[in-house]
């Protein structure tokens, strides 16, 4: 009885799936899906190498400091970094006094309540504070940025596939859409005349829908002056800020890898011993009688 019922249920589901398949296949052959402009022209992130790659990679503290400087002087005008506190900067190699100074001199002030009057006010950030947001709220952010809200950058490199390379590629990936061709030599505006980047947006093939609200943030070499003598080319600044944002997204990366190595070495020894114990206990049963 169960088997007869099952047979008909199975016949129904399998049969209807095959009918759906045939209808789908006919539609697919009759009207093959048209490639979209994103499918043809969106690019995977560029290849770029960072010190923190691989199982034993670590952050390059000087690069993180340079990246922080780029964030401070360029990105922080529009982007928040709300999950990171000034005190966290000690991990970049700054000492307590330096962190205190960085917080105190930060261009954006921390919202507070005036202790005397109870009115809303602002004060200089202290190391315990998280980075203050550049806009009071999303409405203000949208109003100041052509209706696009600049996303928080704390987790950006974990919130995109191949995030570190993505940030680097996006910053250095702006192109002139006029005459832009992909690797196959297809010209975008000839293939998709309707895909012209709208007014106020910026063409960038590394962005998912190719049109990005953010204007190119790094436009010229030397936009930032590095204290450590590194030449601030656009490419260098983009790499540095991508490294910094990798740290903001995964500040415990080095702890994690160190703990992992110790754990795995311990487990390998323990498992080896467990294997020998297993063989030892079974020795009399494994022999042919």
């Amino acid at each position: 009885m169960v088997r007869i019922g099952a047979f008909f249920v199975g016949l129904f589901f399998a049969g209807w799936l095959l009918v759906s398949f045939l209808m789908g296949a006919v539609a697919y052959v009759a009207e093959p899906p048209q490639p979209t402009v994103e499918h043809e022209f969106h690019l995977a992130p560029k290849h770029v190498s960072f010190s923190f790659e691989g199982p034993f990679g670590t952050y390059d503290r000087r690069q993180l400091q340079r990246g922080f400087q780029v964030f401070k002087e360029v990105c922080s005008a529009c982007h928040s970094l709300k999950f990171v506190a000034f005190r966290d900067l000690e991990a970049l190699g700054y000492n307590e006094a330096e962190v205190k100074a960085i917080a105190k001199q930060w261009a954006i002030k921390t919202p507070d309540v005036d202790p005397a009057t109870g009115e809303m006010s602002t004060r200089d950030p202290v190391p315990a504070d998280h980075f203050p947001k550049p806009f009071a709220n999303n409405v203000a952010a949208a109003a100041a940025n052509n209706n696009a809200i600049p996303p928080d950058l704390s987790l950006m490199t974990k919130a995109r596939h191949h995030g570190s390379a993505y940030v680097y590629s996006l910053i250095t990936g702006y192109r002139n859409q006029q005459g832009y061709r992909n690797e196959d030599g297809k010209e975008l505006l000839k293939e998709f005349p309707d895909a012209r980047t709208p007014e106020g947006l910026h063409f960038n093939p590394y962005f998912a829908n190719l049109n990005l609200a953010m204007a190119p943030p790094l436009t010229a070499d030397g936009q930032v002056t590095y204290g450590d003598g590194t030449k601030p080319t656009v490419d260098q600044m983009a790499q540095d800020v991508a490294a910094f944002l990798t740290w903001t997204a995964e500040p415990k990366l080095e702890n994690r890898r160190r703990a992992g190595l110790a754990t795995i070495v311990f487990l390998l020894i323990a498992t080896g011993l467990a294997y020998m114990a297993y063989q030892n206990i079974w020795a009399d049963k494994k022999k042919a009688a």
Partner: protein, 439 residues
């Protein structure tokens, strides 16, 4: 509830004797997973996964309780408290990544455990109840995992909750009220998050309870084995402790090594980047996908693209998705071949291999965007899935001619060792395989 030759618990130390009189808990453990439980001597490594699933549950409960100490189940702060756990709590990152990857590893070992049962016919009489309770655990795990994925309140959390509760919306007439009732509102919100947290905390303990029933039901007939031939005498079994505790100890070590590699070196590999974006009801992700362990079922859900007369395709997909799991409850009665182990079922073995590949294909398609050719591939693969369990399996069990079974477990073990002994002896001149019939 055990074989007559099972070893008896005899406490020697006066404290243990006193304990045994007042509360015979050590006796219970001894008989359940100690020397008092005789187990077939020929189990292979596929029999490790039950214990490993138990270990995975313990890891989830321990890391989960610690996570809960730092979590705020409120839609305004949930995302931030998870980030705070990752950044400011001592070893919080370890707890969080262990919990997230632990869920994946729990499913990996449970899927291997289920496939072990499917191949070796562990679901057949007299172990039907073990199988049914196992499926109950699997369903509870799916519910727990789904609700747990909502808690970080990222984009995939939010939209996953919306899509999955939306499945109930496909039910005619009462669908939408049910969806609203489940969510505590018209869309996922604070009420949904709170109830999901509450249930996500509760269900693992329900799972632990059903696991006790699962093991209880298992101990009545005793464990199955790779030959599928039942235990005939004391020579066929070894005490669970120390023989299988030692083997499980080694298995647990291998499991923990693989888990650690993932946890410490690729903790986000199995997750989705979108879940590091805070939930935003106004912005729909380009592709909403569940976690990898739901992909085969998600592929079945999306494979139905054509309405069946007055039944909408979406409802068909929902019914099929639930049916794809519920049909497993009928498996003991669908496959009535008297032979348990797939090793002695030549036709079954071939179709089983196709099923494994089919489920992997479904999984791949479920993770891919809902566009061609993935939809067409999942339609064919889903059709095979249903045909396999509901049509092919009952037919095989009727017409297949099984291979001859070994007379007993011991016979199969001795046969294997004597063959191995002869092979070993070939190159070496002095080796003597010493075959013997003694147990």
């Amino acid at each position: 509830m055990s074989f007559p030759w099972a070893e008896h618990y005899t406490p020697k130390h006066p404290v243990m004797q006193w304990m045994d009189e007042k509360l015979p808990l050590p006796r219970l453990v001894y008989n359940a997973v100690g020397a008092g439980y005789p187990v077939p001597r020929n189990l292979n490594y596929f029999w490790n996964f039950g214990v490993l699933a138990g270990l995975a549950l313990v890891i989830q409960i321990v890391t989960g309780i610690i996570m809960a100490m730092h979590y705020g189940a409120n839609d305004l702060v949930a995302f931030a408290t998870v980030e705070q756990t990752m950044r400011d709590v001592n070893s919080g990152w370890l707890m969080r990544y262990a919990h997230a990857n632990g869920a994946s590893f729990f499913f990996i070992v449970v899927y291997l455990h289920i496939f072990r049962g499917l191949f070796y016919g562990s679901y057949k009489a007299p172990r039907e109840m073990v199988w049914l309770l196992g499926l109950v655990i699997f369903l509870l795990m799916m519910a727990t995992a789904f609700m747990g994925y909502v808690l970080p309140w990222g984009q995939m959390s939010y939209w996953g909750a919306k899509v999955i509760t939306g499945l109930f919306g496909a039910i005619p007439v009462v669908g939408e009220p049910i969806q609203t009732w489940l969510l505590g509102g018209f869309a996922p919100g604070n009420a949904s998050l709170n109830r999901f947290f509450s249930l996500h905390f509760l269900l693992p303990f329900v799972i632990a309870g059903v696991i006790i029933l699962h093991i209880w039901a298992l101990h009545i007939p005793g464990s199955s084995n790779p030959t599928g031939v039942e235990v005939k005498g004391p020579q066929d079994t070894v005490p669970f402790h120390p023989y299988y505790t030692a083997k499980d100890g080694f298995g647990a070590g291998v499991f923990l090594i693989l888990f650690s590699i993932m946890l410490f070196y690729a903790p986000n590999y199995l997750g989705h980047p979108d879940n590091y974006i805070e939930a935003n009801p106004l912005s729909t992700p380009a592709h909403i996908v569940p976690e990898w362990y739901f992909w085969p079922f998600y592929a079945i859900l999306r494979a139905f693209t054509v309405d069946f007369f007055f039944v909408p395709a979406k409802l068909l997909g929902v019914l099929a998705m639930f049916a794809s799991i519920l049909l497993l409850f009928f498996l003991p009665w669908l496959d009535n071949s008297p032979v348990r182990s797939g090793n002695y079922r030549p036709v079954f073995k071939k179709f089983f291999l196709i099923l494994v590949i089919d489920v992997l294909i479904l999984g791949y398609c479920g993770g891919a965007p809902a566009e061609e050719p993935y939809v067409m591939i999942s339609q064919v693969a889903a059709a095979y899935y249903f045909a396999h369990f509901l049509i092919i399996l009952p037919l095989i069990s009727r017409f297949e001619k099984p291979l001859p079974l070994p007379g007993s477990i011991t016979e199969s073990v001795l046969h294997r060792h004597s063959i191995k002994g002869e092979q070993d002896a070939l190159p070496g001149m002095g080796a003597d395989p010493q075959p013997s019939n003694a147990g």
